[in-house]
């Protein structure tokens, strides 16, 4: 596996879209390639940070308004 292929597979893995066979090839490649290992770690970190930071709870006024929309339909 080339580094280019590894990066494509990494993105698919982080998206939850990589099958087991490609995942195994990716792990084999990362065992041998410290640059790809570090790229993977950082990319995964950016994604998880983004997910943690950008979660929102709907304000209570909005919850009420939506409940009313559904109740009055």
């Amino acid at each position: 596996m080339t580094c280019e292929d590894a990066h494509l597979n990494m993105h698919d893995y982080i998206s939850g879209e990589l099958d087991a066979e490609h995942y195994k090839h990716l792990l084999d490649h990362m065992d041998e390639c410290p640059n790809c290992r570090e790229f993977f770690r950082q990319t995964e970190h950016i994604q998880s940070t983004m997910r943690d930071f950008l979660q929102y709870d709907a304000p209570s006024e909005l919850q009420t308004a939506v409940s009313n929309i559904l109740a009055n339909a």
Binding site: C3, E4, H7, L8, H11, D12, I14, S15, G16, E17, N35, C36, E38, F39, Q42, T43, H45, I46, Q47, T49, M50, R51, F53, L54, Q55, Y56, D57, A58, P59, E61, L62, Q63, A65, V66, S67, I69, L70, A73
Partner: protein, 185 residues
């Protein structure tokens, strides 16, 4: 008296409220407009209720309605949603830029472990809309490529490519800023 179908429908659509508000915040960038968009989305969902089969993918269905509602609103206001992409981002998003397909190692990136919310928000704001949409739907909202293809009305291959490229640009934006902020060279 509500029908059994209506009760099930309400239950299935209501559990996506927080996620819809999150996506609306991403589209509108302020809480007031986001709340209006969420309400319009539910009103439009009710109008299209018959098109929805219970027990299928309410999340993707609602997000599609939200996006279309938002785009229609933008069209009426005659302004296109745009990112603040600089010229270099335009270049980075072109198909023939070798760096994009090579993804070579960049050992100079040292400061990506100390990310702040403002870093992430600013970087996302600087992504072109098409990339930002795909990245937010995948990385923040957790949708599959197939669901994102439905929501954005583009082929799955395009979704995949936009997510890869979007993350790539995001990473470089963050790396550049953090490098400057941390005094790196």
């Amino acid at each position: 008296m509500k029908s059994k179908r209506r009760k099930s429908f309400e239950k299935e659509v209501l559990c996506h409220l927080d996620k819809l508000f999150g996506y609306a915040m991403h589209l509108c960038r302020n809480s007031e407009d986001a709340s209006d968009l969420v309400q319009d989305t539910y009103l439009n969902a009710l109008k299209s209720e018959k098109q929805y089969s219970l027990g299928t993918n309410a999340g993707a269905w609602l997000f599609t309605i939200m996006r279309n509602t938002f785009l229609n609103k933008m069209r009426k206001m005659s302004r296109k949603p745009t990112g603040m992409a600089g010229e270099w981002i335009e270049q980075m998003t072109r198909d023939d830029i070798p760096e994009l397909s090579k993804h070579g190692p960049d050992p100079g990136v040292k400061y990506l472990d100390n990310l702040l919310k403002q870093d992430i928000t600013r970087a996302l704001d600087n992504l072109p809309e098409e990339f930002k949409d795909a990245v937010v739907l995948c990385d923040v909202q957790g949708f599959s490529y197939a669901d994102i293809a439905t929501i954005l009305d583009v082929p799955i291959g395009t979704v995949r490519s936009r997510i890869h490229r979007g993350r790539f640009i995001l990473r470089h934006l963050l790396a550049d800023w953090k490098n400057v902020a941390m005094g790196g060279g």
